[in-house]
Amino acid sequence: MTENLVEARGLTKTFGSFTAVDSIDFDIRKGEAFGFLGPNGAGKTSTMRMITTVSPITDGKLTVFGMDPTTEGRDIRRRIGVVPQEDNLDLELTVAENLYVYGRYHDMPRATIRERIDELLEFAQLTDRRKNTVESLSGGMKRRLTIARALINDPDLVILDEPTTGLDPQARHLLWERLYRLKRQGVTLIITTHYMDEAEQLCDRLVVMDQGKIAAEGSPSELINRYSTREVLELRFAEGEQDEAVLRLDGLADSSEVLADRVLLYTNDAESTQRGLHERGVHPEQVLVRRSTLEDVFLKLTGRRLID
């Protein structure tokens, strides 16, 4: 039997009369990378904050390591690492001092912290920056330092709220690689993101959240198989021709989505669908054939795109 590190049943968070997290259920297993995918305001951060015990739950049941966040917050926090959505490093301290202070907050002996700092700076590729103040770091370096800080106490569970938002592609790939490494070491990861490629890359299982609710749950490939087709045709039309063309697409694919700037046709056989377009005399300016992604799953489930 696999052990669940986090269990939520009917988990709810309200702010005044507004429901940010609306009775959600999920289990997070030891050793997996679990994702929360959803657009702005879906309730991802609110959920993370309840798991990290820095936001009281309004209703339902939540356990972390089998403990109750309301009464055993300290003991839960001893075993987790937190990468918040917004960096909150101490800007006045140096890179190494930021790690040191957090080690002390975790009651670690000084000598252990010093060894750990060397390892973590190596891990975060910040060794040559150890004496710089945080203020002088780039965004990507700050993010890596925040992750290193979250690892100072050798946590069993690391919670990352949008770890790569605002980073350039190269910095994102470097971070992903570091997160893989953690996972291989057996650390359980919880990751929120609104990048579907990130979720596909990193997550063993994920939930798609929307307006405080869980819209779907599964592995990336399961979700794609269940909610989408194997391939997608993206059609772009010349200015003003899309509306007229859409009328002639009926029944051509398994399903379709009409967006402002393009039409998506979901099909398991892109070639025959493309032939169908010709036969009906539909001539888009541009046709792109691609695999289905979690973005399509989200579109299918909610009728909206992840990032507007």
Binding site: P56, I80, P84, E86, L89, Y102, R104, Y105
Partner: protein, 263 residues
């Protein structure tokens, strides 16, 4: 209790690391400010007061120096509870990071109070020695008045922390300094015996915290001082007032900071 103090020590360690960088500026101001205050108020103004109809039982320099110990404690303490707390909550946000470790918001409050105690003690020792060099009082006796001056400061620090935790931005911090801290500084007996105030205002002074700090410092640092330069209230009343204020301050600061950091 032991656990609380261990966690308070973590905050002190973190503050010390940051302090290593900024101590020069604060040390200079803790030397320079007393010299300015004591020369201007104690010597300058004092020469006028002592020559005039003033019937103080001690020199004006002595009177002001003891009052200033409590007043400086209040200002430093209130300052500690204002903008640095808003920074931890809102600007630099470091409190949000600290509470993801085993620390609770209450531990931050206690830790900052301990750190404030250390810092204020240092400021007071410097002040006492300088005032002693000015000839304001016997340094040995005045050192005994440092704990009450620090108590005054920490009572203000924790109460101000509670207030700051409920504020959205720093405009109301400026307001409270303008309309509470500054009037207290001027009218709590720091610069003249409150016996000189109309009776109604004396009653108001009894209700305010800095008055009790000032009285306590004077009664301990200057064993020979007599009414009307000080009131006839017993020492324990002042201690009780400040002790209750500190206890309420810590309790409310912990509660309000918790609400603010863990919505």
């Amino acid at each position: 209790m032991i656990a609380t103090l261990t966690r308070a020590r973590r905050t002190v360690e973190a503050e010390l690391i940051a302090y290593k960088r900024t101590w020069r500026g604060t040390v200079i101001s803790s030397f320079v400010n007393p010299v300015f205050f004591l020369s201007a108020m104690g010597l300058g103004l004092g020469s006028l007061v002592d020559r005039g109809q003033g019937n103080l039982s001690v020199s004006y320099l002595t009177f002001v120096a003891t009052g200033l110990m409590a007043a400086i404690g209040m200002q430093a303490g209130a300052g500690d509870g204002a903008h640095p707390v808003m920074a931890g909550i809102k600007w630099r946000k470091e409190f949000h990071a600290v509470i993801t470790t085993p620390m609770n918001p209450g531990d931050i409050v206690v830790g900052r109070a301990v750190w404030g105690t250390i810092r204020l003690t240092f400021i007071m020792v410097v002040f006492t020695i300088i005032a002693g060099l000015f000839g304001a009082f016997d340094v040995g006796t005045a050192l005994m008045a440092i704990p009450p001056a620090v108590l005054t400061g920490i009572a203000f620090q924790t109460s101000m922390t509670a207030f700051t935790a409920t504020r959205e931005d720093s405009t109301s911090l400026t307001t409270i300094f303008r309309f509470a801290i500054t009037p207290l500084f001027l009218f709590s007996g720091t610069f003249f015996p409150i016996a000189n105030l109309p009776q109604a205002f004396q009653w108001i002074a009894y209700a305010t915290p800095l008055f009790h700090g000032v009285e306590l410092v004077r009664k301990i640092a200057l064993p020979g001082i007599v009414p009307p330069d000080v009131t006839t209230l017993p020492i324990w009343v002042h201690f009780a007032y400040l002790g209750v204020m500190l206890a309420v301050g810590i309790t409310l600061a912990a509660r309000f900071l918790d609400r603010r950091l863990r919505p």
